[in-house]
Amino acid sequence: MTRVASFNIEYTEFLDQHGKPTQALPAFAQDLNILVELYRKMVLTRVFDAKAVALQRTGKMGTYPSSLGQEAISVGIGHAMRKEDVFCPYYRECGTQFQRGVSMSEVLAYWGGDERANCFKENREDFPFCVPIGTQSLHAAGIATAFKIRRQPRVAVAVCGDGATSQGDFYEAVNLAGVWQLPLVFVINNNQWAISVPRSAQTHCETLAQKALAGGFTGEQVDGNDVIAVRYMMEQALERARAGGGPTLIEAITYRLHDHTTADDANRYRDKEALKKAWDLEPIARLRHYLLQQNAWSEAQEKQWQTECSVQVEQAVQDYVTLPPPLPTDMFDYLYAKLPHDLIEQREQAIAEAKLGGGPHHG
């Protein structure tokens, strides 16, 4: 027997759960202002998230997938990406979107069941949330292909969950990214659950990072509760990709602290102990501890920022609830560039129906 190939998977963390550095912080994190910025963004994301859940609970919005506990991932990604890069999320990354020009009221409107929300006013190229699990990986690969063909120094970023790594589309994207050396960064939000299916029942892999080996490129594990680690590894990966160095896959290890969505009840399948332990690891407290230790943040600032976040979020809620309803004709008017003749009659019918007050709500 001859050894023909060897691979290692590395794990990176800078701040432990108590906010103590476990190694020298990377250059960007020497600037405490940046860390404060990351902190603020995580808090904002969490405040927004709690409000969104509340809106669903009070019947003002549809099903909502909380990103509670996973803010370091979305915020770290958004902070590392450049404006000209393109983002392909699944549905737990409003923390990234807020940094990329997507407004809070757009995110609320999306979960409120309004396609207009996806017509981001301030972001023209990012993909909207993607419900069919894993499929967005291929869109990102296509976008990265376009960048490569056009010799643009831009990078596509695709995020998916641990469950999504079981999908063929995820793997097909990984394989293509490798063989075409695409400017593409894959991020896996490994929150340990795919609805009720635990990470251990999803794959036998020691790490999800090693899924990259099936594409012939590097997979990295990071502490997904450490925004410094996420931000650092993202930047490394983005700049390597931008320079023509090909794709990277980053597995960010975290925990889903909420139910899967507001339609789920995790008590059916989730161990209370595990949840309690996971709360000890969550990303916001640890960075706050560090910032407080460094005197870069204070309780007063905390209070003030919480208030500011609430104000911002309340404003977004106002914008959302006061948005005039979409038109029934919208379902025809954006289907094709130009309405095909076979739809004219149906569109007329929809207008006539709507004048009669629309259909009654069903079910």
């Binding site: 309004d114 299916v197 339609a263 149906q346 259909g359």
Partner: protein, 326 residues
């Protein structure tokens, strides 16, 4: 006997048949510990164990593909796909293999599997959770496609689907899951997989529908009765193979027909039914067969969903048009 919902009838049928036939195995995402996102498989893991209630990784082509292998080995896998919009990754395995295995091997290998999936709009769910693309499946030779519209029919048809020696696509109207309750004796009695059900007899017009739209169709029939119009209501139930005889017999009698379905109009199953009626009962028709359907658009997100779905009013309009024809 307690009254049960459609989804409880699904659970009851699964439990009955798993008890009766040890080859019946269920598989899918979140169907075990969690009991299914709609709770269709609640309690089955506890009752039948992890060997027969398989929580799978998240991959629909995989679910369909392994069901084929299991079925070829003589198991009777009943796979749940979480929503119809997530069946599409499984289409290749279903079209290219499940539907063809028996024919390809001239009967040596067979594929007694069921794919269950919630379908249809109206539950205010996110995108891709409101599909009704049954026409895709109904076009595939080698498949059966079955859609229950009441707890009792869900029970009897699902039993029949599991017992059927060939692949069955079993579409459960999610809007009906908890809408009505009914006594459903747990007697293991299956319903025929190749027959329509006449839900209401009538003489003036035939209303043909299936799945959740029967709810509005029956309402319309009631309204029509008040107006003195006697509508016969047919639940197609099995859309492949199509029991056109029952439909034809009714239309021969009434001379008028409106077909109601939630799916997009163009190429929907309503087209096939209308084409066959017009072919085989042309001279009996007093008016063109009309179709009341979803629009040829993507099912909109929940804010516009109710504009998409056909409602009683649209049905009544079509009926009136039909009655007033020439």
């Amino acid at each position: 006997m307690a009254e049960i919902t459609l989804i409880e009838a699904v659970t009851q049928a699964l439990a009955y048949e798993m008890q009766a036939d040890k080859d019946v195995v269920i598989l899918g995402e979140d169907i075990g510990v969690n009991g299914g996102v709609f709770r269709a498989t609640v309690g089955l893991l506890e009752k039948f164990g992890a060997d027969r209630v398989l929580d799978t990784p998240l991959a629909e082509s995989m679910i369909a593909g392994i069901a084929i292998g299991m079925a070829a080995q003589g198991l009777k896998p009943v796979a749940e796909i979480q929503f119809m919009g997530f069946t599409y990754p499984a289409l290749d395995q279903i079209i290219n293999h499940a539907s063809r295995l028996r024919n390809r091997t001239r009967g040596r290998l067979t594929c007694p599997m069921v794919v269950r999936t919630p379908y249809g709009a109206g539950i205010h769910a996110p995108e891709h959770h409101s599909e009704s693309t049954e026409a895709i499946y109904a076009h595939i030779p080698g498949l059966r496609v079955v859609i229950p519209s009441s707890p009792a029919r869900a029970y009897g048809l699902l039993l029949a689907a599991i017992r059927d020696p060939d692949p069955v696509i079993f579409l459960e109207p999610s809007r009906l899951y908890r809408l009505v309750k009914q006594e459903v004796p747990d007697n293991g009695e299956a319903l025929p997989l190749d027959q329509c059900f006449i839900l209401r007899e009538g003489s003036d017009i035939t209303l043909v529908s299936w799945g959740a739209m029967l709810h509005e169709t029956l309402q319309a029939a009631k309204t029509l009765a008040v107006q003195g119009v006697s509508a016969e209501v047919i639940d197609v139930a099995t859309i492949k193979p199509l029991d056109i005889e029952t439909i034809l017999a009714s239309v021969m009698k009434t001379g008028r027909c409106v077909i109601i379905h939630e799916a997009a109009k163009t190429g929907g199953v309503g087209a096939e039914i209308a084409a066959q009626i017009s072919e085989k009962a042309l001279l009996n028709l007093h008016a063109p067969v009309l179709r009341v359907t979803g629009y040829d658009t993507v099912v909109p997100y929940l804010k516009l969903e109710h504009y998409y779905l056909p409602n009683e009013n649209r049905i009544l309009n079509a009926v009136q048009q039909t009655l007033e024809f020439a």
